[in-house]
């Protein structure tokens, strides 16, 4: 039953117009950056479109992993924000009652719900990156390969560039899942779905303060999301995201698994 519930949540979330619009807009934005920022794709001349590759050529790798980077930051934030607000929406609208009466367990319901939210964020984010990769490879040559265009795990990139892309997709997926998890966490205290949706953005912005004070890598959310820091590696990005995921989703399960969250007079009115 739990798998069926997860499937339903995925279908509900990923067919929502706002999700599809965000997905399309982000893809188009990425495509635009890949296409227009690179110029004609030929040998780089002097000027603002100087090629990052050592050979002086723009490649699919450099176009994807350098000029499209701003979108990597936006994808997890927006996709995660839309999926993450779904828990608050269900609570606000009363849809949880339809599901809960069939699932017969609050814990199972919230577990199915947040796994669906995580899966929708992960899939949307990873898929948009992979589509941008396909677009980049359709436009530009895949060689020569220059490890200097990536900021971390350069050796791994040189030996397994396609696996590297796959892992970047996974990192972005985990980042989106975390942003959605932050929204889920906010749903415990905030009832308004819009406020809940905006919470990951606020969280991202305010993370600058603790990061500036502590310089802890785990608090440098901007670098973790945009994959823009030399000191990073797939291992420590994964570790950081897993910590966030466990905290956000764990606390959400604990709170939403308890009746008391629905048990106040205001909450009971729906």
């Amino acid at each position: 039953m739990i798998f069926r519930q997860i499937t339903i949540e995925l279908k509900r979330l990923m067919t929502r117009p706002i999700y599809l619009i965000a997905f399309t807009v982000l893809i188009l934005l990425g495509m635009g950056l890949i296409y227009f920022s690179v110029g004609d794709g030929g040998p780089a001349g002097p000027g603002e479109h100087a090629a990052p590759d050592a050979s002086g050529y723009w490649t699919a790798w450099s176009a994807l992993l350098t000029v499209a980077l701003p979108v990597f930051l936006l994808i997890p934030v927006f996709i995660g924000f839309i999926a993450g607000a779904s828990l608050a929406e269900d609570r606000h609208s009363g849809y949880w009652q339809f599901a809960l009466i069939r699932v017969n367990s609050r814990l199972k319901w919230v577990f199915g719900k947040i796994v669906g939210i995580f899966a929708a964020s992960f899939a949307g984010s990873s898929l948009s990156f992979l589509l941008l990769a396909v677009f980049s490879f359709l436009l530009y040559p895949s060689a020569p390969l220059d490890a200097g265009i990536v900021r971390f795990n350069q050796e791994f990139f040189s030996t397994n560039p396609y696996l590297y892309l796959g892992l970047v997709a996974v990192m972005l997926g985990l980042g989106a899942g975390t942003m959605a998890g932050v929204a889920c966490l906010a749903s415990i205290w905030i009832k308004n779905p819009y406020a809940v949706g905006a919470f990951p953005i606020a969280f991202l912005l305010f993370s600058i303060v603790p990061y500036s004070l502590t310089r802890l890598q785990i608090l440098d959310l901007f670098s973790l999301l945009s994959l823009q820091r030399t000191g990073l590696s797939f291992e420590n990005i994964t570790f950081s995201w897993l910590i966030y995921l466990m905290v956000c989703y764990g606390v959400t399960i604990i709170f939403f698994g308890r009746e008391s969250i629905f048990n106040n007079k205001k909450g009971a009115s729906r």
């Binding site: 039953m1 069926r4 519930q5 499937t7 339903i8 279908k11 509900r12 067919t15 929502r16 117009p17 269900d90 609208s93 009363g94 849809y95 009652q97 339809f98 599901a99 809960l100 009466i101 069939r102 699932v103 017969n104 009746e259 629905f262 048990n263 106040n264 007079k265 009971a268 009115s269 729906r270």
Partner: protein, 299 residues
């Protein structure tokens, strides 16, 4: 044989210091439609949520038996006042998703449920474009599609037009009588509750003030006998005393009698006793009158 499909014993629910419900005792039998009326905030929705198992009572016990359920039945069907469906999906798609959680009914059964409530299962119209009444009907279809034995409805007629209300009334009666579904219905539309329910619980400040049996209470209502003139009243009073009837003189030629016999028999007896009768009125107090006297005036 009628079985209790839901039993509440001394149920109470407190939100902090405030008791939303207190000392609720009730049984809902198979095929019975029980109404729950009261002013806003009297605990209607809270009781429905308790019966549905969505929230637990602070005190008392709820028993909704599982045995004897139709295989694959949802057990409980619930339609709340709000109808929170996914706006970007059609009515059918919404129900299909919900039905997939338990996965015990076929697509035909989903379509059938949609048809029962008067919607078109083949329509691709998105729920976001539904009227409020259509959403309410869809919520009812959602509640009945998995063949529940206990149906809990919170304000099901909200937003429905007159024709839809009549159709809903017929649907509920048919579900109760033909399928043996026990229905518990909370509403503020007293006329509708009176028309559809077998029994009505009147609630004020979380407590059941009176149980109004629509049929049996109506059978025991007093009749008002009007005589042609005052001399007939004297003969009537003598006759009433002789036959042990309880009565109350209202006017010079009008007496209210708590009869313990059918009205035709009373008429025959009075004619045989040579009492000239101008008219006989049998008027049960409506639910609205009961509501006003009990819950508003507090009599």
């Amino acid at each position: 044989m009628n079985k209790a499909m839901a039993t509440a014993k001394n149920v109470g629910k407190a939100y902090g210091e405030h008791w939303a419900l207190k000392d609720i005792n009730l049984e809902i039998m198979t095929g019975e439609i029980v109404g729950f009326v009261g002013p806003n905030g009297c605990g209607k929705t809270t009781l429905i949520k308790i019966l549905a198992g969505l929230i637990t009572p602070t005190e008392g016990t709820i028993n909704v038996p599982k045995e004897g359920l139709i295989p694959g039945s949802a057990g409980i069907g619930l339609a709340m006042e709000s109808a929170p469906f996914a706006a970007h999906l059609s009515g059918y798609k919404n129900l299909e998703l919900l039905a997939y959680i338990k996965n015990v009914i076929s697509t035909n059964e989903i379509k059938q449920a949609i048809q029962i409530v008067g919607l078109d299962p083949g329509s691709g119209k998105k729920v976001g474009h539904y009227s409020f009444g259509m959403r309410q009907r869809l919520a009812l279809a959602q509640a009945i599609m998995e063949r529940p034995r206990l149906l809990l409805l919170d304000e099901p007629t909200n937003g429905l037009d007159a024709q839809a209300i009549i159709e809903l009334r017929d649907t509920l009666k048919s579900l109760a009588k033909e399928n043996g579904i026990a229905i518990f219905l909370a509403s503020h539309l007293l006329t509708e509750v009176e028309n559809v329910c077998d029994r009505v619980l009147m609630v004020k400040q979380g407590k059941i003030k009176k149980t109004f049996n629509i049929k049996s209470d109506n059978e025991r209502v007093p009749v008002i006998v009007q005589t042609t003139d005052a001399s007939d009243i004297e003969k009537l009073l003598i006759w009433l005393k002789a036959h042990g009837q309880t009565y109350q003189v209202i006017k010079a030629n009008e007496v209210s009698i708590d009869i313990n016999m059918p009205v035709p028999k009373l008429v025959n007896s009075l004619v045989q006793a040579n009492i000239n009768i101008e008219g006989i009125i049998k008027k049960a107090p409506t639910l609205e009158e009961e509501f006003i006297s009990l819950l508003i005036k507090g009599e």
